[in-house]
């Protein structure tokens, strides 16, 4: 049921528009994946920017980009939404199955999974990072099972993680999450050296497995360098600390409160690994908002285990009696149904709905498009219709880079969401122009920028409007294009 509700909600409600319009990265991944499908090769040098054109490129998520692009090429934006929704729904379904396997009641497990969904929903975008959430569930479940198993014969629980790590390393750059989990479980088992050594050995095998990718160990070096570069991390919203003024963080806050309430009410005797998991991932989530969904996944089984014990040992008040009755009914229904057939049927029907124009022609039933109020859709149409209106290289808004790569592949961008590729030097140069700091003209000249495409209210537009060597080529409510006058 959880899988169906999440999948259908994401694919058929307005959420599908949020998934592709929150930033330009879904466009970016489609464009890069499309290039790889077209050229039947993994991308190794940059093709899409004029500032770093031809430079060696380490794509941290080449396989995801191919998958997203394959879906998008067939189903348009509905494809990206479908892949994203499938990943989210499957992650939550796996989390739910995990809780049931540990003896949690279905009603209670549903509540906790919905809480985890609420905490992580702010990052439900149609991008490769969703794969990390899926792999986090798989890794965390196996490690938790190993942690709780008797020492002998439990190795088989961890062995599948090794090939999975190869897959993860090719799908998304945050495969390091797996190493953090392995490290936490190794540290938590120091009192049981054999277990700790087993985890370390599996960890080493996972490191080796992660080297099986098109970039070998350069991938790891690239990621470490990125994480150690404060300028790059600061530049990206999702690397900032959570903003608790925003309603999007209410789910995370609620989950934190549920955890604290557990400590007050149940006073559980937690295992060392659970303490470390809460401490490490709690800190990482407070430091970087993109870790909040991972924290939500990690902490849910701990909440389930101890709250379930509280519920079972609670007295028999009227409320508890009512809850138990309801829970028994839900459990009976849950056990008497097998949703697997339903899942396949719904997926086929959904595919049919999304692919209707391709299968039966006519208008699409579900239209999923980039919103012209968020991205410079009309401006790119203007450029396509008036190619002579601009000349030279482009200076573009950071958040629009991915969209411009996709919408105007014949023009190379100045910068896009891949700030790990561009490096701190170029990002600083971009920032100089973007903030109209001293030296902005030198940067534009250095990169032979002949035109700019920026949000209408961007301060650089105000500056260029005063310059005799620049003129307004196009403007609407969203974007303005300024062009350098030829001498």
């Amino acid at each position: 049921m959880i899988w169906l509700v999440i999948l259908l909600t994401l694919c058929l409600s307005d959420w599908r528009l949020v998934m592709i319009n929150a930033d330009g990265d879904p466009s970016l991944h489609w464009r890069i994946g499309h290039w790889m499908i077209e050229h039947r090769t993994v991308i190794r040098v940059d093709q899409f920017s004029h500032t770093r054109f031809g430079r060696p490129l380490i794509s941290k998520e080449w396989l995801s980009e191919v998958i997203f692009a394959a879906a998008d090429d067939r189903l348009g934006w509905n494809g990206a939404v479908l892949v994203g929704a499938l990943l989210i729904a499957t992650t939550l379904w796996l989390l739910y199955r995990w809780l049931l396997a540990e003896g949690c009641e279905p009603l209670f497990a549903t509540g906790l999974v919905l809480l985890a969904a609420l905490a992580s929903s702010h990052h439900w975008l149609a991008r490769p990072h969703l794969i990390t959430l899926l792999f986090t569930v798989v890794f965390a479940r196996r490690l938790r099972a190993f942690d709780r198993s008797s020492e002998a014969g439990a190795l088989w629980l961890l062995v599948p993680l090794i090939p999975l790590m190869t897959l993860w390393a090719n799908l998304h750059g945050a495969f390091f999450t797996g190493f953090v989990l392995l490290g936490v479980y190794a540290a938590g088992n120091l009192a049981q050296p054999r277990k700790a050594v087993t985890i370390v050995i599996v960890g080493a095998a996972c490191v080796a497995a992660s080297l099986i990718n098109p970039n070998g160990w350069y991938l790891h070096g690239h990621i470490v360098q990125f994480l150690r570069e404060p300028v790059l991390a600061k530049f990206t919203n999702e690397f900032r600390s959570p903003n608790f003024h925003s309603g999007a963080m209410n789910g995370f806050l609620l989950q934190l409160l549920t955890l604290v309430a557990l400590f007050f009410v149940a006073r559980p005797r937690l295992r060392t690994t659970d303490v470390l998991l809460i401490g490490v991932w709690g800190y990482l989530a407070l430091q970087t908002v993109r870790n909040v969904p991972i924290f939500a996944i990690i902490v849910t089984p701990i909440l389930a285990e101890h709250w379930q014990a509280v519920m079972e040992s609670a007295g028999s008040g009227r409320m508890m009696e009512w809850y138990r009755k309801l829970s028994t009914n839900v459990t009976r229904i849950d056990r008497s149904t097998d949703g697997r057939v339903m899942m396949v049927v719904v997926l086929i029907v959904l595919l049919g709905v999304l692919a209707k124009p391709m299968l039966f022609n006519g208008k699409p039933i579900v239209v999923t498009e980039i919103l012209p109020g968020h991205f410079p859709v009309a401006a790119t149409q203007f450029v396509a219709a008036n190619p002579r209106a601009i000349s030279g290289e482009m200076f573009n808004d950071y958040g629009w880079g991915g969209y411009l790569m996709l919408a105007m592949p014949e023009h190379r961008v100045f910068v896009d969401g891949r700030n790990d590729f561009y490096g701190p030097e170029l990002i600083q140069e971009f920032d100089t122009v973007n903030r109209a700091n001293p030296g902005w003209e030198d940067v534009l000249q250095k990169y032979k920028v002949g035109w700019t495409i920026l949000p209408r209210a961007h301060p650089l537009n105000e500056l260029l409007a005063l310059r005799k060597d620049w003129s307004l080529s196009y403007t609407d409510d969203v974007a303005a294009i300024y062009s350098r006058q030829s001498e």
């Binding site: 404060p230 991390a233 600061k234 900032r240 600390s241 959570p242 903003n243 608790f244 003024h245 806050l253 409160l257 604290v260 309430a261 400590f263 007050f264 006073r267 559980p268 005797r269 937690l270 303490v275 809460i278 401490g279 709690g282 800190y283 407070l286 430091q287 903030r435 109209a436 700091n437 001293p438 902005w440 209408r456 209210a457 301060p459 537009n461 105000e462 500056l463 005063l466 310059r467």
Partner: protein, 520 residues
């Protein structure tokens, strides 16, 4: 609760020259604030102290409470609810007598006394000296992130007193009469010192809820006692509310505070109202405090009272929402942490580390019991006043110079305007962070915006943001407010724009600030 082991041992002979650990803490924080680089950091972090000094000055000069806006042209003459009038008078008195050194001196006395008082509270509650000292230092490190010479220090101090007294009332160590006399009087003082006096009601409210829950769960013979506590806390809340109305603005004061808190634009404008940035190393003490709380809950597994649970949760949420609440969380959480860590450490089976800890703690306690000196803090304050007042008393250069750094404030630009008053005419558009400094340094020139956002409301702040962000329509706003000159950081984007304009010209520039004037 006293430690029985401590009571049974004969007290060692007191040494008149030896200060207690609490006094040492006081001295360390006081001297560090006054004699190290900390004093420059305290006044340089923003210009709020400047503006409070000037407002206090005006009140001292005019023997009246400030009731209308005087220092900005955008809201000149608008009604003003001064949330800090008493603190501002104290600031102005100290500043007028001893300059910036005097203002730092007052702030440092408050901060050092806060640390001393927290340490004394922990000891009075029967916690071991070493643990109390470590936790006090941790709380001080969290509070220190917001130790600026501004009225909010009064709130940090009074939160400590309120939390302490309410905690002791719950434990039967403070009588109802003491509570009902002391806290309303302090509320009246608080309401005149700083706008965050509403925190008093949060604390009373949480204790009221906790006690009410206890009442609902109490056995029949406990009920009368707990019910009386609920009644006392209810009466306390009412008395404190009435006491808070004893201020020059009456109940416009709480209304103004609520209006401000309900505006997301204003609340999001000032850095200290934003959530903590955990990438910033200055949040590390707060993280360590969170870890200490987490470990207490997971290792000591205390059976917390409802009130303690509420205090921890509510202040945790508030401190995650606003970085300025971090110190208040530290002040409220530290006694709870101390109580349960202390109990855990006493009951824990002796390991090598624990034996070492107990050994150090016992030795430190025996030294502390020999402490006989009492007047060192007073002596230190007098000595520091003499040091600061040296130019006035004996002439010559100051021994300790405390000045605003010319690298952060447009001091040379202001000097230029002083010497060339005709260089600019009309109204000013200024950098927000410098607003307070301009009010102090050139009060005759009215600013566009200064940090007292209460007086501006959302409209003026929005106008300011539009110009500051060089958004379309910025010129119309400058015309609307008759702005004829700007004073902004050298690299401000508006400067680059004005440099392109034929109707504006560069009046002055240095490494810090640039002034542009409109050509008549």
């Amino acid at each position: 609760m006293m430690n029985p082991a401590v009571i049974e041992q004969p007290l060692p002979r007191r040494r008149w020259w030896l200060p207690s650990v609490s006094v040492v803490l006081w001295l360390v924080f006081f001297l560090a604030a006054n004699l190290s680089i900390v004093r420059a950091m305290m006044i340089a972090s923003d210009s709020d102290a400047c503006w409070h000094w000037q407002q206090g000055n005006w009140m001292l000069q005019h023997h009246a409470i400030l009731r209308t806006e005087l220092f900005s042209h955008t809201r000149e003459g608008a009604p003003l609810v001064d949330l800090w009038w008493l603190s501002e008078i104290v600031t102005a008195l100290a500043g007028n007598l001893l300059g910036w050194g005097g203002i730092v001196l007052v702030a440092s006395v408050v901060c050092a006394t806060l640390v001393w008082l927290l340490h004394r509270q922990l000891l009075a509650e029967g916690n071991e000296l070493l643990l109390s000292t470590l936790l006090t230092l941790l709380a001080a490190a969290v509070c220190a992130t917001h130790w600026l010479p501004r009225p909010h220090l009064a709130t940090q101090f009074l939160v400590l007193v309120f939390a302490w007294q309410l905690r002791w009332f719950e434990r039967g160590r403070t009588t109802a009469r003491q509570l009902l006399v002391l806290l309303p009087v302090l509320t009246a003082l608080w309401a005149n010192l700083h706008g965050a006096f509403v925190v008093a009601f949060v604390l009373i409210g949480l204790h009221w809820i906790g006690t009410a829950v206890n009442w609902a769960r109490a056995t029949a013979d406990q009920r009368p006692v707990v019910r009386r506590r609920v009644t006392v806390l209810t009466a306390l809340g009412v008395a404190c509310f009435l006491a808070s109305l004893v201020n020059p603005h009456g109940w416009n004061l709480p209304l103004q505070v609520l209006r401000y808190m309900r505006s997301p634009l204003l609340m999001g404008f000032a850095q200290e109202y934003l959530p903590p940035n955990f990438h910033d190393p200055s949040t590390m003490p707060f993280v360590i405090l969170l870890v200490a709380v987490l470990l207490m809950l997971l290792i000591a597994r205390p059976r917390l009272s409802v009130t303690d649970g509420l205090l921890l949760v509510v202040w945790l949420v508030l401190s995650l929402r606003m970085v300025r609440n971090g110190p208040l969380f530290a002040i409220v959480a530290t006694p709870i942490l101390a109580e349960y860590w202390n109990a855990y450490l006493r009951a824990a089976a002796p390991s090598r580390v624990l034996r070492r800890y107990r050994d150090i703690s016992a030795r430190l306690t025996s030294v502390d019991q020999m402490a006989g000196t009492r007047g060192l803090p007073a002596l230190a304050v007098i000595a520091m006043i003499a040091v600061l007042a040296k130019p006035q008393l004996f002439g010559g250069p100051p021994l300790v110079a405390t000045e605003l750094p010319a690298s952060r404030f447009p001091i040379d630009a202001v000097e230029f305007l002083r010497q060339s008053p005709e260089a600019v005419r009309g109204n000013m558009f200024n950098e927000y962070a410098w607003g307070g400094y301009f009010i102090l340094a050139m009060p005759q020139r009215k600013v566009f915006l200064h940090p007292n956002l209460d007086v501006y409301g959302e409209d003026v702040v929005r106008d300011f943001l539009q110009v500051n962000g060089v958004q379309p329509g910025w010129e119309d706003i400058l015309k609307k407010y008759h702005v004829d000159w700007t004073i902004l950081p050298r690299e401000h984007r508006l400067n680059h724009l004005l440099a392109q304009r034929a109707d504006w010209h560069l009046v002055y520039t240095d490494q810090v600030a640039t002034i542009y004037g409109r050509i008549p």
